[in-house]
Amino acid sequence: MPESKGTFRKEKLGEMYRTMVRIRRFEEMAQELFEKGGIIRGGIHVSAGQEACSVGVCSALNNEDAILTTHRGHGHSIAKGTRLPEMMAELFGKVTGLCHAKGGSMHIADVSKGHYGAHSIVGSNMPMAAGIGLAFQFNGRGQVAVPFFGDGASNQGAFHESMNLCAIWKLPVVFFCENNHFASSTRADYSTSVEDISTRAQGYGSPGITVDGMDVLAVHEAVAEAVKRARAGEGPTLIEAKTYRYYGHSRLDKKFGSYRDEAEWNKWKARDPLTVAEKLFGLTETEIEGHQAAVEKELAEAVAFAEASPEPEPEMALEDIFG
C-alpha cells in the first residue's frame, strides 16, 4: 500500500470510490441505452474496467488543471467533474447537451471544469495538450495539462512529436497512456514495438513509468509525482497504466471479439478496479451500498434531465461555426 495513503482523508477515498462507481454505472447504462436503439445519438466507446485510471489521474489534479481525452472519454470526463445531466443530454442528442448535440459522445467537453474535450481523431489530443501546457507555462500559475491516450495512439506520430516538444520546452504535461491492450481489434503486442510503452519516454529524455492501472492509488501516486515535476518546471512524464476494457471496442464490436477470449477477460475481471479499491480503502458493506445508492440517484436524475430536454432546432446546425 502506498505510503501516502494515510495522508488521504477518509472523505477523499470515499469520493474517489464513489466516482469510480459513478463511471462504472454511467458506462453500463450508456451501453444498455445504446443497445436499445434510438436513444443515444452517434457511436459510443465505453470505458468500464478502466475506472482506476480516470480517477487516479483526476484525483491528483485541480480544477484549473486541464485534461484532454479520447473517443473513450466518459470516465475521464466524469472524474474531472463534468456535469452529468448535460453529458447525458449530449449522448441523447438534446439541445441541453454540453456540445449542443453537435459533438456527441466522442467530443464531450466541459471547459469550465478544465476538460478541454474528447478528441476522436486518434492521437490528435496530444499536440493540443502540449499547446495548453505552453499556455500554462506562459501563465505561470503552475497548471498542468494531461492528455489521456491509448496503446494504439502511442503509435501515432503525434505522440512522438508532442513528447519531444514538451521535453525540449519543459512543458507541464503528463502523458497518461491507458494500455488496455487493444486498439479496436489490434492487440498491443502486435502493434507496438515495446512491451512497456513507458519505455518510449527514454527517447525523449523524460521519465517513463508503468503502473498497475487497476489500482487507483498506484495510479494516483504516480500522477501526483509527475504533476509535482511538471509544476516545478521539470517537464513531461510518460505514465503507462496497464488496464483492460470490459466491453467491445465500440458499437459494432462484441465483448469477446476474435482478438480476445473469455479466459483473458476473466483474468482481468478478477482484479476489478472497484473491488481492488474496496479492499484498499477498507470499505464496509454499508459504505459501499451507500455509494451505490447515491450514484443510482444521480444517474436517474441525469437520464431524466436528458429525456425531458428538447431536441435542437435543425437550423441550430448553422450556429457556432465562427465565433
Binding site: 445519438r41 448535440a101 453537435k102 456527441g104 501515432q156 486498439a183 489490434t186 476474435s258 435543425p314 446546425a317
Partner: protein
C-alpha cells in the same frame, strides 16, 4: 448478371486483382479482423496476413510506406477505414504520391490505391462523417473515383488497381448494402467516362457518389408529374468527363448537380463552371447545386439531415430549374 452488394463488389475486385497480380497487397487498421473489416477479412484468410496486413494506428507512417512500396514496384491498396483519417496522412497523399513522378522527371510511378470509406447520415459527427472527394480532385497527379453502384464499384476498383498512378477510391458507406447487377468476368471500367443511369429529356440530374441513387429517386418523383429527368454519373471526378456531362445537358438545357460534400468549392462548382463555359448559349436555366451546407456535420440526426443533401432537396432544385422562365 448476378446481383451482388456494393460491398461484395469491392471484395470481388480486390480478390480478382490479388489473384491476377501478386504485387497487389492490402494494408490498413484491422483489415484482417472479420468483425471490423468484413470487406477485407476473407482476403486475409485467402492470401495470408503478409499480403492483407494489419497496421498500427499510424496513418502517416503506413501511407508514406505505401508510397515507398509503390515506387519500388508493388501495388498497395490502402484501407483508410474513413476518409477523415486521410487528413492525418496528407503529406504522402497530397505532397508526395501525386508529385513524385513529375518531380523525378518520370523516373518512378506510384501505383497506389487509397480506399476511403466516407459519408454522413449515420450520426458520426464532424470528424467521422465527412465527404471529401472535392479536396482530392484539385490535386494534379491524383485520380479520384466515386462509384455509385455495385457494378461501377467493381469495375472502377479494378481500373484503379491497374492504374500506374495514385488513385483515391471513395466508397460511400451508405451504398455498401445496395444491391445491383454486376457483370461476370474481368470487366474494368475506364476512368473519365460518365454513365447515363436513367434517360430523360427535360432536365439533367448529375449525381456524385451517394447522390446518384438520390437523383434516381428524385427522377422518379418528377416522373409522376410528367417530367422526364436524365440522371448522369461522372463516376470519376478526376479525370472528369466534361464532354459526357455536356452531351446530356446540351440535350435537356437544364441541370442540377448533387453531391454530399460541402457546397463551397465542391465538385458541383467545377462541373457547373465547365458546363456553363461549354454550353452558355443553350442553357435554359442557371445550373442548380445541391450539397452539404457549409458547416461541420453535426451528430444530432435532425441537424445532420438539415445539413446533408436529400432526395427532397434535389427534387426542389430541379423544380426551380424547370420553373425558370
Amino acid at each position: 448478371m448476378p446481383n451482388i452488394k456494393f460491398s461484395e463488389a469491392i471484395t470481388e475486385a480486390l480478390r480478382e486483382e490479388m489473384e491476377r497480380d501478386e504485387k497487389v497487397f492490402v494494408m490498413g487498421e484491422d483489415v484482417s479482423t472479420p468483425s471490423v473489416s468484413p470487406l477485407t477479412a476473407e482476403l486475409a484468410e485467402r492470401f495470408g496476413t503478409a499480403r492483407v496486413r494489419n497496421t498500427p494506428i499510424s496513418e502517416l507512417g503506413f501511407t508514406g510506406a505505401a508510397v515507398g512500396a509503390a515506387m519500388a514496384g508493388y501495388r498497395p491498396v490502402l484501407d483508410m477505414r474513413l476518409v477523415d483519417f486521410t487528413l492525418v496522412a496528407m503529406d504522402p497523399i497530397a505532397n508526395q504520391a501525386p508529385k513524385l513522378r513529375y518531380m523525378l522527371g518520370g523516373q518512378v510511378s506510384i501505383p497506389l490505391v487509397i480506399r476511403t470509406p466516407q459519408g454522413g447520415g449515420v450520426q458520426n459527427g464532424p470528424t467521422h462523417g465527412q465527404a471529401l472527394e472535392s479536396w482530392f480532385m484539385k490535386i494534379p497527379g491524383l485520380k479520384v473515383a466515386v462509384p455509385s453502384d455495385a457494378a461501377d464499384a467493381k469495375g472502377l476498383l479494378k481500373t484503379a488497381i491497374r492504374d500506374d498512378n495514385p488513385v483515391i477510391f471513395t466508397e460511400y458507406r451508405s451504398l455498401y448494402p445496395s444491391v445491383g447487377p454486376v457483370p461476370e468476368g474481368d470487366v474494368a471500367i475506364p476512368f473519365g467516362k460518365a454513365a447515363v443511369k436513367r434517360e430523360g429529356s427535360d432536365i439533367t440530374l448529375i449525381g456524385v457518389g451517394s447522390e446518384v441513387p438520390h437523383c434516381l429517386e428524385a427522377a422518379e418523383a418528377l416522373a409522376s408529374d410528367g417530367i422526364s429527368a436524365e440522371v448522369v454519373d461522372p463516376r470519376t471526378i478526376s479525370p472528369l468527363d466534361t464532354e459526357g456531362l455536356a452531351a446530356s445537358v446540351s440535350k435537356t438545357g437544364r441541370c442540377v448537380v448533387a453531391e454530399q460534400g460541402h457546397l463551397h468549392g465542391g465538385v458541383g462548382a467545377e462541373i457547373a463552371a465547365a458546363l456553363q463555359a461549354m454550353l452558355f448559349g443553350s442553357l435554359k436555366a442557371p445550373i442548380e447545386r445541391v450539397a452539404a451546407l457549409n458547416t461541420p456535420i453535426p451528430v444530432q440526426p435532425k441537424m445532420e439531415a438539415f445539413v446533408l443533401p436529400s432526395v427532397e432537396k434535389i427534387t426542389a432544385a430541379a423544380r426551380k430549374a424547370l420553373d425558370y422562365a
